[in-house]
Symmetry: C2
């Protein structure tokens, strides 16, 4: 039985943004992401094949969607649904606290039939 605590085992130093898979199943991946001042490089955008749902569990962050002027400022408990291919970037994360994200990646293709279940 895979158990754990989402706030534990956070390294002291986080030179690079930390991506850790918690659970991987056909069609779904649950991931913990830890940022500390990390952002998406200027001018770069995430353009993902999967739907993503993120929940900010600790810290603070700012996410920008391409074509939108206002960023989303995320505090503890805030969640955001990012459909596949909606381009976005992480504009800012706190440099003083570790920002802990829960990310649920949902495969879009090949799953249509599962609705019929």
């Amino acid at each position: 039985m895979a158990t754990g605590n989402i706030f534990q085992a956070i390294p002291q130093d986080i030179p690079q943004e930390l991506f850790e898979v918690i659970l991987e199943k056909p069609g779904v991946t649950i991931e913990r992401i830890i940022s500390k001042g990390h952002t998406t490089p200027k001018g770069a955008w995430y353009d993902q094949n999967n739907d993503e749902w993120v929940l900010l569990l600790q810290g603070e962050a700012r996410v920008v969607f391409q074509g939108e002027s206002e960023p989303y400022t995320l505090a503890v408990g805030d969640y955001l649904y990012i459909p596949a291919h909606v381009k976005h970037r992480v504009d800012w994360t706190s440099r003083t606290t570790e920002t802990v994200w829960l990310a649920i990646h949902i495969v879009v293709d090949s799953l249509e039939d599962s609705q019929l279940k």
Copy 2:
């Protein structure tokens, strides 16, 4: 863009355990559950067709798996993976605080092909 805060809009009175779907996609449902002293009726067991991953976000709870003598006591940040048909019950939740769970329900059937993507 579906956004929100997982700790908001918690009703004052919670006569029954509260189940709210946050996001529903083929193969995956993301749900918020709020308990306040609620438990699974004595002798009753959850026996689910789907895999479930739960993360306790607020409060405190105790989950028992059938055939195991020791319950899992869950505090903030603790998560638990409950494979389909692994029988379990919620033995106890705090009566003084709202216990907020995030539950990810993952359809097991019809998804085998998605691994091939």
